[in-house]
Every structure is written in C-alpha cells, then in structure tokens.
C-alpha cells in the first residue's frame, strides 16, 4: 500500500513538473515572439505576418559585433545576404533567395528607417554599409521582410523591405559616449542621448546620436593588369600621373581605400507626433575603379539628409488616420582620375579627372486611414495615398587633375522633375484565432510609364499548437531610375522607353514553435520580367539612332549603349531556419540555410553574384553574474560567378570561391566602473576574394584575358568602449 502511495505521489510529482515545464515552454514561446510593423504597416506578430520576416534585435547587434545593416543581414537573417563585401566593406549590393542583380546599388530592396524610405530616385539605390549613416547603437531592431513588398510601398521593394527601427529613450537612456576601433584601420566615435520629459502637456521621448567614422586604409595588394598600348598615344598605357607609362595597373594600396562618415540621427515622439531627422556624409576612396591605380584624387562623396514627420489621430474608436510629411535630399559626386590618354582625349593633359555629380530631392505626403469594422482588430481596412514631388539631375565634367580647370564642355546633363502618385488598399480579416487573411493592392502612377498595379494575397493558418502555415502571392516592381531613363553621356544613350521591372512571387512556409525553439521552412518561386540592363547597340541600331537624331555623329571607336528591358529570370528554392535557447536564455543559437537557383532568360545557366547555397549560424552565451557575453557568428556563401562573369568575355569565367566568415565577440561591463562597458571581437574570412571584377579591365582584352577580383578583409579585430553617464 505504501509502495502504491509513493508511486502515485511520484507520478503526481512528475505530472506537476511536466505541466510546469509545459507552462514555462508556452510562456517562453510567447516571449520569444517578434513584432513587426513593416509587413502590413501595423504592429503584428511576425509568425502570422504576410511574408517571411526576420527580426534582428539590438541585443543581437551588440553581442555578435554587428556594425552595419549588411553585416546584420549576412550573419543573422534568413534568406538574404550580400554577395560578399570587399576589403572596403562598401562594394556589393544585397540579394535574397539566390537573386543578386549586378550593379544594382541596392535598388531591389527598399530600405526604411522608422518607416521612412531612404532609396533615392536617381539610381534607386540605398546603402546598407557604413554609408547608410545609421549608428547601430541607436537601432532597436531590424525587420527583414522577404518577398515583394510593393503592395504598400511602391517601387524598389522587389526582393524585400528592410525596416530599421530606432530606439526610444527608455532603451537609449541618458547620455553616452563610445569609441571603437577596427585595429588598426578605422576609428569610430559616437555620442548619444535619450531622455523623456513633459512637453506641451504630453510625454516627449527624444533620442539623438552623432557619429563619426574614419577608415584609414587597410593595406593590400592587387595583381598587375597589362593594359597594353594606349590607342591615342601609341605608347604603353599610363596608369598614374607620375613615372613613365608602363602599361601595368596594379600594386600595393596602403590607404587608398579610406572612408569618412559623419552622421546624425534624431528621433522625437511627442504624444502621437513622430519626427525623425537624419543627415550624413560618406566619403570614400576609389583606389581600384576604372581610373588610375590607387589615385589619391579618386573618391566618391555621398550626402543625404531627410526629415519625416508623422501624426496619428484616432477619429473614432474604429477609425485611425495617419498623416505623414517628408522631405529628402541626396547628392553624389564621383571623381575618377585617369592618366590614360584614351580616357582623357586631350594630349596636353597628363591626368584628367572625370567628375560626375548627381543630385535628387524629393518631398511628399502620405495619408492613410485604418478602419476597424468590428472594433476588435479582426476586420481592418487600410487605405492610403502617397504623393511625391521628385527632382533629379546629373552633370559630368572633365578637369585637368593638376589644375582643376575644365578641359571639355559639360556632358551627361539632365534635369527632371515630376510628381508620382501611389494609392493602396489592404484588407485584413481574422475570423478565428487560427486564421488570418490579408489581401491588398497598390497602384503607382509615374509619368514615365503606364500605371503599375502590385497585388498581394496571403493566408496564415495555425492548425495546431505552435504551428503556422503561410501562403502568399505578391507582385512588385522597380521603376527605372532617372539615371537609366534620362542620362545621355558619350556612348550612353537615354532609352526611348523603358518599362519597370516586375516580379511575381509565390511562397509557402511552415513554422513550428516549441518553447524557445523554432523551426521554419519556406519554399519560394519567383518570376522576374523586364529586367533593366545596359546593352550595346548593334550597327543597325546605331544607324537607326542617327536617323532618329539620338546620335549627332557616330564616333568610330565608340560602341554605343543604352538601358533596355532585356529579359527575366526564374528563381526557386527553399530556406530553412532553426533557432533555440535554453530556458533563461543564457544560451541561445540559430542557423539559417537557403538553397536557391536563379535561371536567367537567354540560355544562361547561372546568374552573376548569386550563391546557390548560403546561410549563417550563431551561438551566444551569457556567462553568469558579472562575466561577459560571448557571441560567435558565421556566414557562408557558396562559390559564385563574378559580376562580369557573363559579359566580360574572359578566357576563364571568374568565380569567387566559397566564402566562410567567422566572428567572435565578447561584450560586458567593466567592473567596478559603473556605466562603462566594452566590446571586443575578431573576424576571419576564409576566402580572399569577392565576385567583383576590379580595375580598368572589365572585359577581356588581348593583353589581359583574365579578370582580377576584389580582395576581401581576411582578418579584423575590433575593440570598443562605451560609457553611459
């Protein structure tokens, strides 16, 4: 009898423990949920939001030593990656699901900061590196929403939408200063503050940060490229203003890959009013572009500033209206020095400087209304209109690099201004706790092409505990940039007409949560059409252009080119994600893997820059008490074809080798100094090169039949101290 009693007691205890463990698991799972705002322009769980989202937290950014949005994507995101970053950390756009488009300058992703789009209309691009001007310490989270997102945002959201959300004062409290160095090549200083106070009867929340970043140059070697004989001088090509012409381009670069970036970001919330201001300048050397090797005067300067003001008002308990006003300015100055007489065309100038300036300004307003029909959030209609005035222009000049005097008339000049309009409608319906429906469409009107409609339909079903099935169909477009539609300069002709790029996508996903563990599988199928690419005119096309007056006279040594809609690609694959933690979250880990194929139209079997396999993994451990946190993260990119791999005509197609990058970061407080914390880390890259062809040899020549690829940073250590007053 006693034995029975003990057995029953033991069984009861086990049931109690099991139930407690299950209850703990349920709570852990809920606390591990992520809230996203960019998927539907409203706060919702990422599990049920349309599309595939990854939320990268401020804690992740710190403990894995992340310094830029691009690094965050490479090390921590599911389904998206760069194609590898060169030693400057600047070169290379962003791709997703195996689709990377060469030279796109990031214009197939829409980058938002606090909901404000920062893609500029001249090239359509955005920066995801240091040039973004976003101090990472001010970032609360980065939402990476994969899949076409034009349904709410319009142009550029073809691969996805990345929303960088900055911290409120409670998470960026007080005043702080930070100094960090990537030894010995760069230094960064940040000062910031976050305060709450009462203003005009409302609670105000202010965060502000000012950052200065300076990279001095990392020191690396580039292989010699034989440029042969200069067509104008009939001597070996000159590749620097000093010394005899040798025909050889290449050698040691010590500090030509410098960069400098002051930036500032301010976020102010007063009641329902939100204001975000950002300004930054990014100046970088261009030591291995198309000009002289390691030329001191070759640089790129980008400046941007924007303000976004939004105000939310509840008109009734079921109707919420949000009004937003914004204005942006962006300009780029590229200076490339060249001593090749074939580039300068003037015999009395040793070195000429090609100065290209582009500027764009845009301002607009967005009005949206959300109507909650049932007053419980289950049936909500969102309707919005977005009107924007845009101005863009460019100009190119050739100067004598020695004197700064112009040696030719300005070329490549255009100015264009116009109004673009967008209107969108989204309907969400959750008839039950386990079913969510989302359908919507947006129409965009741009004077350069017919109106574009971007629909989306998504379903999320939660048929069992912790399980979510999602299906989504969506379309997106990218309006051709003004550089693509308007610029005529030398052999480059502005196209007669250019349609927007289009993408259609279908994805299906399964997600299963059990406690602090989450498994995800996402299958996707996309079809891209009307991709825009630079194409050379045939002789017949050149002749036709003369007849139409597009070319005044044909220069015999020039091959004319223009942007065209050239075709598309089919893309399909699968992404797998797993993340987990031990209860208490002292130990957490995650891994993502994507296998994808992007088949271009036109018979090619592979796309440049696109890895067919890529992924990442991470583990972090919070040591107890005052001991630090150790984070180890890594990402890999499979072997991929270089950007000129198809068009360069090289004897052997250039490929960048499989890249594996590992980074270890240790963060913690500095006892016993209250408020002082540190972050140290080291990173190592197995690969030496990334898939970008460098130097003047962008296509095979008799003297240079092979391509040289950009080097990547092999080893880097960094150390930083932050003091919070």
């Amino acid at each position: 009898m006693k034995r029975v009693a003990y057995a029953l007691a033991g069984f009861g205890g086990w049931i109690l423990c099991a139930n407690t463990a299950l209850a703990q698991e349920d709570l852990d799972a809920l606390l591990d949920e992520s809230v996203v705002t960019a998927a539907s322009k409203s706060a919702e769980l990422s599990t049920t939001a349309p599309g595939t989202s990854t939320v990268i937290t401020a804690q992740d950014l710190r403990r894995f030593g992340i310094h830029t949005v691009a690094q965050a994507v490479d090390f921590l995101s599911l389904g998206a990656s760069t194609s590898g970053r060169d030693v400057t950390g600047d070169k290379g756009g962003l791709g997703a699901r195996g689709v990377h488009l060469s030279g796109d300058e990031g214009n197939h992703f829409l980058l938002l900061v606090n909901g404000h789009s920062v893609n500029e209309p001249l090239a359509g691009g955005a920066r995801f590196d240091r040039g973004a001007g976003i101090p990472m310490e001010m970032v609360d989270r980065i939402e990476v929403i994969l899949g076409p997102g034009s349904v709410l945002y319009g142009s550029n959201a073809m691969l996805g939408v990345i929303n960088v959300v900055t911290k409120s004062a409670k998470d960026f409290k007080g005043t702080r200063v930070l100094v960090e160095s990537e030894l010995p090549t760069s230094v960064r200083a940040l000062t910031g503050a976050g305060y709450t106070f009462d203003l005009l009867g409302d609670r105000a929340d202010l965060t502000v940060g000012i950052e200065y970043y300076r990279r001095f140059g990392s020191g690396f070697d580039l292989s010699d490229q034989d440029l042969g004989i200069d067509l104008i001088s009939n001597e070996p090509a000159r590749t620097s203003p000093n010394g005899p012409p040798t025909g050889i381009w290449g050698g040691r670069i010590d500090d030509g890959d410098f960069a400098e970036s002051p930036s500032a970001l301010l976020r102010l919330a007063i009641g329902d009013l939100r204001v975000t201001l950002q300004a930054s300048t990014y100046r970088q050397g261009q030591p291995y572009g198309r000009g002289d090797f390691n030329a001191e005067g070759s640089q790129l300067v980008q400046r941007q500033a924007w303000v976004d003001v939004s105000y939310r008002k509840l008109v009734t308990s079921t109707l919420e209206v949000t009004a937003r006003l914004y204005g942006d300015t962006h300009d780029t100055t590229s200076e490339v020095e060249s001593s090749l007489e074939g580039n300068c065309f003037y015999l009395n100038v040793t070195t000429c400087r090609d100065v290209r300036v582009g500027a764009s300004r845009w301002a607009g307003t967005e009005l949206r209304a959300a109507l909650d029909w049932e007053e419980d959030g289950s049936l909500v209609t969102l309707v919005g209109v977005d009107g924007q005035y845009r101005y863009a222009g460019t100009k190119s000049d050739i100067e004598d690099a020695a004197t700064g005097e112009l040696v030719a008339p300005s070329t490549g000049f255009f100015k264009r201004d116009e109004v673009v309009l967008g209107a969108y409608l989204q309907q969400t319906y959750s008839p039950t706790a386990w079913l969510g429906l989302n359908a919507g469409a947006r129409v965009d009107r741009d004077p350069r092409f017919p109106a574009v409609i971007s629909p989306r339909a998504a379903v999320s079903v939660q048929p069992w505990e912790g399980g979510t099935l999602k299906f989504a169909y969506s379309e997106a477009f990218r309006a051709p940039s003004y550089s693509e539609t308007e610029l005529t300069d030398g052999p480059r002709l502005a196209p007669v007409e250019l349609d927007p790029e289009r993408v259609r996508s279908f994805e299906a996903s399964i997600e299963q949560r059990f406690g602090l563990h989450r498994l995800r599988t996402v299958s996707f199928l996309t079809r891209w059409q009307d991709l825009v690419d630079l194409k050379q005119l045939s002789d017949a096309e050149t002749q036709r252009a003369v007849e139409l007056g597009r070319i005044e006279f044909v220069a015999p040594q020039l091959t004319y080119e223009e942007f065209r809609n050239v075709g598309g690609l089919d893309n399909y694959g699968v992404s797998l994600g797993y993340d987990g933690a031990l209860s208490g979250r002292a130990l957490s880990w995650g891994t993502n893997l994507t296998a994808a194929i992007a088949e271009p139209a036109g018979g090619e079997s592979e796309s440049a820059l696109a890895p067919r396999w890529f992924g990442n993994a991470r583990v972090a451990y919070d040591l107890p008490d005052a001991l630090p946190t150790i984070g180890v993260a890594g990402f890999f990119l499979a072997r991929r074809l270089a950007d000129r791999g198809v068009t360069g005509g090289f004897a052997e197609r250039p490929y960048a080798p499989t890249q594996l990058v590992l980074k270890t970061t240790v963060t913690g407080d500095v006892p016993p100094l209250s408020g002082l914390s540190y972050r140290v880390g080291v990173g190592y890259s197995l690969a030496e090169e990334v898939p970008f062809v460098v130097g003047p040899t962008q296509a095979a020549s008799p003297t240079q039949p092979t391509a040289d690829l950009a080097p990547t940073d092999r080893f880097r250590a960094f150390v930083g101290l932050e003091y919070q007053l």
């Binding site: 919702e44 990422s46 937290t57 998470d171 101005y391």
Partner: protein, 213 residues
C-alpha cells in the same frame, strides 16, 4: 547632350540643380495636411501601448498562472475588469480589443474566465467595484495615466492583480505590464504593488521580467 563650356560650378548641387520653381503640389499637400490635423477632432493623445493587445492578452493568460495566489483568489473562475476612460477613443478601442482577445482564450491561469468593462469614475469607486464583483484582475486601458497613483493607493490591501496595456503605468504602480524591446515582448512587474495587492509571482517569472522595486 552637350552644353557650352561654362565655369566650374562648385556649388552645382545647390545652384544648377536647384529647384527652379516651388511646385504647387508640395505647398498644397502641406496645407491640406495641416488642415486635416487641425480640423479632425482631438481624440486625446495615445498613451504608449507598445505591445499589440492580442499578444498582451495571450501573455496575461499565461502569466496569471504564475501568481501563486490566483487560484485561491479566483475560486474556480477568473473575473477580469477592464477599466476604460469615458470619451477616450484609445481607451475605448483598447477595451474592445481586450474583450475580443479574451474571448479567444480558453483559459486564464488555467481557469475559465469572464470579463466586463467599467468606465472609470474614481479610484475609490474602482476599489468598490473590485470588492463587490470579486474581481481577480483589473486591466487598465490608455487614458488613465493621471489616475494610476490613485488607483494604486485605492487597490492597496485588495486581493487583485492589476495589469495595464500602457507600458509606463507599471513604474507608476500597476503590478504587471508589457513592453517591447528589439521587437520582442517584455514583462514588467512592480514588486511593491504586487505585495500590497497580495500578488505573489513565482521566482521563475520574475527572472523573465523587468522588476521595479
């Protein structure tokens, strides 16, 4: 397209590319926006409801079970009082959403539950309603910022778990609240108020929460 040779314009981006005319569109849009904001009736500014209501309610349903005294307090059914401010639209909306979200939960603290709404009159009357209705959970909505200290005083000594949809109410003396950090929900617990209201959260929960002492 080429132009005549011209002096180098170092201020190119501000002069040559400067906007030639101020577009009517932008001015019109700004005026319309200002008018809209001024004309629409004021709803009272929204307090910070950082965590979506449906997630708050899911969390509450689990977290309530971590109160060691909840089972005795509830005596078989958890009674929830949702407190809203009269004529406050955000408060009304939050209350409706809390009710709807609670309808979707089979259990709170593992027990059946019922909810009703109360329009706030005074902290004293709220305490009376808590006693009269054997209320186990008081759920505050936006619009009650200035009353939270009074509510805390009035509920002190009562056997009730107070929860708020508004993040900042916790540091002013509500037992349980929710915040968002890095996009993930965080629990906030005001320990002195919990003690005063006979709420005894298990240590395993307090480890997960930000605790105000």
């Amino acid at each position: 397209m080429t132009r005549e040779l011209e002096p180098r314009e170092s201020q190119f981006v501000t002069r040559v590319l400067a906007v030639r005319r101020r577009p009517a569109f932008a001015l019109w849009a700004a005026r319309a926006l200002l008018l809209l904001v001024l004309v629409l009736p004021s709803a009272g500014s929204a307090s910070a409801v950082n965590v979506p209501i449906n997630l708050q309610v899911k969390l509450l349903a689990k977290v309530a079970a971590y109160d060691r005294n909840m089972e005795d307090r509830a005596a078989g059914k958890v009674r929830i009082l949702i407190v809203e401010r009269a004529s406050h639209l955000e408060s009304d909306r939050s209350a409706s959403r809390i009710v709807a979200a609670l309808d979707q939960e089979d259990a709170v603290a593992g027990l059946p539950h019922e909810a009703r709404r109360l329009t706030f009159d005074s902290a004293g009357k709220l305490a009376d309603a808590v006693r009269a209705g054997s209320i186990d959970i008081v759920y505050l909505t936006p619009g009650l910022d200035d009353e939270v200290p009074n509510i805390r005083k009035a509920l002190s000594g009562e056997d009730v778990l107070s929860v708020s949809a508004v993040t900042t109410h916790v540091q002013d003396g509500v037992v349980l609240g929710f915040d968002l950090a890095g996009g993930k929900p965080k629990l906030l617990v005001h320990l002195p108020t919990a003690k005063a209201q006979n709420v005894a959260f298990k240590p395993s929960l307090l480890k997960l929460a930000k605790v105000y002492r």
